[in-house]
């Protein structure tokens, strides 16, 4: 158990609104997974599926309602003093919007120097500069390039690189990247993704890559391997080896997502009439399967009882009654 870098057990976050007769819904509902050192985990789902809430909890920004997050065997909520400092240093975030990450009134170097100072990485300014130059080299930039400049003098792609470089300064073991390429131009996206691959390969860094863009998720997974979690309305609906999930989806929701990707190939166009999903808060509190209202395969059981996360084959989990009843592969494996 101690070999796991990160272990998430029955993690739940309930948000309440209103004062007396409040409405509450589970943004993250009973999520469990684990991550080994040097592995990549890809979390995909649409807006409102709880993927960012999950990231915030792992980073320690939000307190879970129930369940626990074990980093190197220790519950992160209970970390104090030096242990907390080490955790903050080793688990680093990369956020979605590079333009909002940096305060426009501060020079870029300010961020790097304060990070050096906060984590006690260096004793003098010259030493800091050297360390900063080293991390900037990793992202393909240099200290002289950023010296004295303000955030607006950089493009989105460059800022995202700087944001990653700042995270690298603390020599993290786990990088949590929440939609890191969404705001970056198409031609710079591959550059950022290649950077993640390199960090994973060269420095054995674990990465949790959170995205709604399945194509970039697939690309990362196809190059470095890794697992994937598909979330829907706070639930994990499918989990397994990322490549297998993408190429051979089992859950109807995963299939629907994959079919909705605008494939950059005008020879393979979508057919049919427009269909729109009805997205409602009710779905979070639905007693049956949360996807049942939109599911093409739903039958009576789906509306009444919430499916568990069944293990279908080795390491592949699906939360679906329909898949469970139609795909009885490796029954013995499950019972064992």
């Amino acid at each position: 158990m101690s070999s796991k870098l990160l272990k998430v057990r029955n993690l739940t976050k309930v948000f309440r609104s209103g004062i007396y007769i409040g409405v509450s819904f589970k943004a993250v509902d009973d999520v469990s997974f684990s991550l080994d050192k040097g592995r990549v985990l890809i979390v995909v789902g649409e807006s409102g599926c709880g993927k960012s809430t999950l990231a915030k909890m792992i980073l320690g920004f939000l307190k879970p309602t129930s369940g626990e997050i074990l980093y190197k065997g220790k519950n992160i909520v209970k970390l104090r003093g030096n242990e907390e400092k080490t955790f903050r240093k080793e688990v680093q975030p990369v956020f979605q919007d590079p333009f909002e990450t940096f305060n426009p009134f501060h020079r870029i170097t300010y961020y790097f120097l304060t990070t050096c100072f906060k984590f006690g990485l260096s004793k003098s300014k010259d030493e800091s500069k050297k360390i900063i130059d080293d991390v900037l080299k990793k992202v393909g930039m240099s200290y002289d390039e950023i010296d004295g400049k303000y955030p607006h003098e950089f493009s989105g792609g460059q800022l995202q690189r700087l944001s990653i470089a700042r995270a690298l300064l603390a020599t993290p073991t786990l990088l949590i990247a929440d939609e890191p390429v969404t705001m970056v131009d198409a031609s710079a996206r591959i550059g950022i993704l290649s950077l993640f691959m390199e960090l994973n390969r060269k420095y054995d860094m674990s990465i949790i890559y959170i995205t709604h863009d399945l194509a970039t998720g697939y690309y990362l997974a196809s190059q470095v391997g890794g697992d994937m979690i598909v979330m829907y309305r706070g639930d994990v609906v499918e989990m397994g080896c990322a490549e297998e999930v993408m190429l051979n989806p089992l859950h109807p929701y995963t299939t629907m997502l994959l079919n909705s990707i605008p494939e950059p190939n005008p020879e393979k166009r979508w057919e049919g009439r427009p269909e729109f999903p009805s997205i409602e808060l009710k779905e979070y509190r639905f007693s049956g399967c949360k996807f049942s209202k939109r599911c093409p395969h739903a039958f009576s059981k789906c509306y009444e009882e919430k499916p568990e996360l069944f293990e279908m084959m080795n390491g592949r989990f699906v939360r679906c009654w329909w898949v469970k009843s139609n795909l009885k592969i490796n029954e013995e494996v499950v019972s064992r």
Partner: protein, 322 residues
């Protein structure tokens, strides 16, 4: 058809400082087709749209060029019109779905009121039974129940609001609709719905649609023709199928080759560098500092947009040579 001829639109930011957002662009949008405009942020695609709809407010100024709408024998140059006559053409000649439009719905107005206010723009004082029918029809066109008319915008999801915006755009049966990043920020499944809806109204009503998006996947799925912009210049124009099958400009090639696709395992090429600042763009071809094939001529001379094949236009000195 909408014809744009040699438009130069600059943002004036100082006595002699101009951001050359659109610099000598000529393109035409075919009637009854979806024309896509692709390019990265800051390439001038949204400025081009502003020029197309005559929305020219300081610091933006148009230094040269014309935008001609040719419909039913009528021929209007939008840039010649004053505000009053422009108002006559808004909504029924062209409608606009601006970027992040779904956030522009007044949150304290019922949707019915929003529709009423919009229809007042083209001379309707109070909604008659017939007008209400029209509203209900467009609402059902976008796949919403008519009950939403009694709701307020915050009660709707992002996708539903975007569909309301689409309904507002088609209510006066315009000839052209300009959509600026209509699906950015929406979920995948909703995005598919909106895009298929655009394709449907094109087929149903023969509306000409101009779609601005940075997402090449979106263009591949629904556009008929595709214009690629880079640093304020139009660099390639052809039918969408032709562009994806046979991209000629090195930038277009890089853009298409960098797209990850599910099922493809090979490592993608990355394009070095970043788009240039438009305040002081590079001399000659604006792409030359990032281009692998640039030669001396690329540094000195600005390449013209040439027709290299029937219907396929490229602005590159080295096309055909490499």
């Amino acid at each position: 058809m909408v014809e744009i001829r040699n438009v130069k639109a600059y943002y004036k930011i100082g006595a002699d400082l101009f951001v050359k957002a659109v610099d000598g662009v000529s393109v035409s949008f075919e009637t009854g087709k979806i024309t896509g405009i692709a390019g990265e942020s800051g390439c001038g695609k949204s400025t081009l749209l502003k020029v197309c709809i005559g929305w020219i407010k300081p610091p933006l100024s148009v230094l040269a060029g014309e935008v001609i709408y040719k419909f039913d024998g009528e021929r209007v140059n939008i840039l010649d019109l004053d505000e009053d006559s422009l108002q006559r053409y808004r909504w029924n000649l062209f409608a606009v779905v601006p970027q992040a439009a779904m956030n522009s719905l007044n949150p304290v107005r019922k949707l019915k009121k929003i529709f009423e206010e919009t229809m007042r723009k083209f001379g309707i004082k109070k909604l008659t039974k017939e007008d209400e029918k029209t509203v209900e029809k467009v609402i059902s066109d976008v796949g919403l129940p008519k009950e939403v008319l009694n709701m307020y915008p915050p009660q709707l999801s992002g996708g539903m609001k975007q569909r309301i915006i689409m309904a507002l755009a088609i209510i006066a049966k315009p000839k052209v609709i300009f959509c600026d990043e209509p699906t950015t920020g929406l979920d995948l499944v909703t995005q598919k719905g909106i895009l298929l809806f655009l394709r449907e109204i094109k087929e149903k009503y023969g509306i000409t649609i101009v779609l601005i998006s940075h997402d090449m996947g979106v263009h591949a799925q629904i556009t008929d023709n595709l214009a690629i912009m880079y640093a304020g210049k139009l660099i390639e124009y052809a039918s969408t199928k032709e562009i994806f099958r046979n991209p000629l400009h090195p930038y277009t090639k890089a853009l298409i080759n960098s797209l990850p696709t599910i099922g493809e395992k090979e490592q993608k090429e990355k394009l070095p560098g970043a788009p240039p600042p438009l305040l002081n763009p590079p001399s000659g071809c604006r792409f030359h500092p990032r281009c692998m094939q640039s030669a001396d001529i690329c540094r000195k001379e600005v390449p013209e947009l040439k027709e290299v094949k029937p219907g396929h236009y490229v602005a590159c000195h080295r096309v055909g040579e490499v």
